[in-house]
Amino acid sequence: MTAKHRGAYWSPAQAASSLVQLAILERSLAHIMAGWAVKMPAFDAKLAFGMQMHRSMERATYLRGRVNGLCHAVAGEATVAAGLRSTLSHIDRAQTPALLVAAIYRFLYPLLIASYETHLSETDPDGDRASVELIRSFLPPLDEESRRGLSLSVEHADNRPWLRELEELWNGRTAGEPLSLAEALWGPVDRVPRAVRPEGSRFGVSGSLGLLPVDPVHDPRDVGMFLHKELDEEFTTLELMARNSYEHPDMAWAFHRDMARQASDEARHAIMIKRLMTPRGFRHGDFALTTSSYDGIYAFEPCAAGSRQELLWRMLIRQTFMEGLAIDNLGYEIEHRRSVNQPDIAAVFEYILRDEVFHAQSGLRWSRELLGLDPQAVLKEREEAIRYFTARAEAARESFVMGNLDQAMGELAAIEAGKEQRGGKLPERPLNRTGRVQAGYTDDDIRQIVSWGYAIDDEGRS
């Protein structure tokens, strides 16, 4: 038996060139999914995009490290031609969710997998062993992602002209100026102030209090309502974090990894919450949906659209204010659910708490970064953002009540029933000091939330 003769393997420069193209394909895929998660009507697509954008971002990160490893010794830089960016940004401009899905899973994934396989067959298996091992670990999940993507719920349409268009662009990918990995992305092609939901969805009304479970611990329907609200929160946070990444491609690489990880975490949380809902006889959409944790935190009148300040306010409100409250509440809920023999809910919340600490930590890190690491500036800016946000909420509330007296009376009755259920007490709001400290909240940060009345610090009091 004779060994098949082959030509020389790729040089390190050729390998780096192939790897940088792969890194750009993965990074761009994460970018496109980050922009589109909120625009996809189907929930399964949102979940897939949330998780896959994180995987792509992580693969891009490994590849980037490998490119640096191959270029560093000769002070070189691997580049691709601008034609590649044109192709990828064109995909981002797909006219419908169905075309986008076709572009990603019928065009981009096959190309990506083929490019990985080409690298495996052409690179030096010993000289470039690290890349070979990486790529071998990438291929099985890529296959799985591709299969899952092809089964997403989208309208069926004739995609052939669109795919031909992309093919032509791909053929011209080697044209144009050279671009490094850092220059490969493009700016946001749109603003999406409202989260898209499946056609025919029912929504809570602006200014209302939404779903008001009276007894979310014992009453089966209220437990379902409670989980339903949770589920909505997971989706809207996934969408908002994804847009944070998409709308600010020039933020640091580590920022995008954090946003992608959080989007993926929220997708996992949604899956876990659905797992709690199903055996209890509830499905997403059984109650009115809410998207206000996206819609209400997307833009703010005092901040220029697309500005860093807008990004800062989103993070301050969602990640450092609301997710801080989640850390507090989950700490309480875990014990409480266990005490009322709901170990499945407690177990899911245990996992969610772990992730929430990271989410708040990320929000604290990047909001501090945007404010020049000045802790006083963070407190001041958070106060300003929260003051604006709550004023807007209160105005919406007032408008709703004045225009919907009967519904407002219904809410009042539910609030009173809830109070009665709790023996006239306010809902429990114990501060989870350990969780907050682990997330990186300073004493001043903690004092701020306690002084606003959203958490009660028994430890600080005693």
Binding site: R194, F203, S206, E394, A395, L405, G418
Partner: protein, 215 residues
């Protein structure tokens, strides 16, 4: 063609914002507040996301079917009966018993103060005058300019707000289950006019996000 359609949408949204402010004034909200409540719609007038029109629904506790009808009736009577107005302020429990009010209605009644009656009278008179000034196609229906009805609505609405708590923190406490989530819906509005204005663009399929993007 594209620019013209975008312009039309913006005009429609501008009109809508004006209408919202007018409705807000009708309801007794300062113009700024009414617009603030709706400001999401001004933030991105060209946005084309395919969030479908919402059906009007508020989940209510299943064991009650509360309405504001009794309270509106009492507030309406008290407007022309100063003795009743005085009794509501002095002895709300007695009035509640007389009219067989539920616990929630009783709670709201306790927040109907003499000052509130006076303020509502003034606000409603101004509002009715403003609305009566509309002529031609903008002319308001008779019910919408009835100062008596407007005043009663303002009194009841403001008393409900006071009873339930006006602040975001109060609202958070009302949502006992998820204090980290928003306590007040800041999302879409159920007003179909908004969706009509955004989506009724010639040659544009509302179910296609990204159609209006600047390429």
């Amino acid at each position: 063609m594209r620019k013209i359609s975008e312009l039309s949408v913006r005009k429609a949204l501008l009109l809508l914002t004006t209408a919202i402010a007018t409705v807000g004034v009708f309801l007794g909200l300062p113009v700024k507040k009414a617009i603030a409540a709706m400001q999401d719609y001004r933030m991105a007038p060209g946005a084309a996301v395919n969030q479908p029109a919402a059906r009007f629904e508020v989940i209510q506790p299943r064991f009650v079917n509360p309405t504001a009808a009794n309270l509106l009736k009492i507030a309406g009577m008290a407007l022309s009966d100063s003795a009743l107005a005085e009794r509501i302020a002095r002895d709300p429990e007695g009035v509640a018993a007389q009219y067989h009010l539920s616990n929630s209605e009783r709670l709201v009644l306790r927040h109907m103060t003499q000052e509130q009656f006076q303020t509502a009278r003034t606000d409603a008179a101004q509002l009715a005058a403003t609305r009566m000034a509309y002529r031609g196609p903008m002319r308001m229906p008779a019910g919408a300019t009835d100062a008596h009805l407007i005043t009663a609505g303002m009194i009841v609405g403001r008393a409900i707000l006071a009873a339930a708590g006006r602040s975001y923190l109060n609202a958070s406490n009302a949502n006992a289950c998820c204090p980290w989530s928003k306590a007040i819906e800041l999302g879409i509005n159920s007003d179909p006019a908004y969706y009509n204005a955004v989506f009724a663009r010639p040659g544009m399929n509302a179910s296609q996000p990204g159609m209006n993007l600047e390429h």
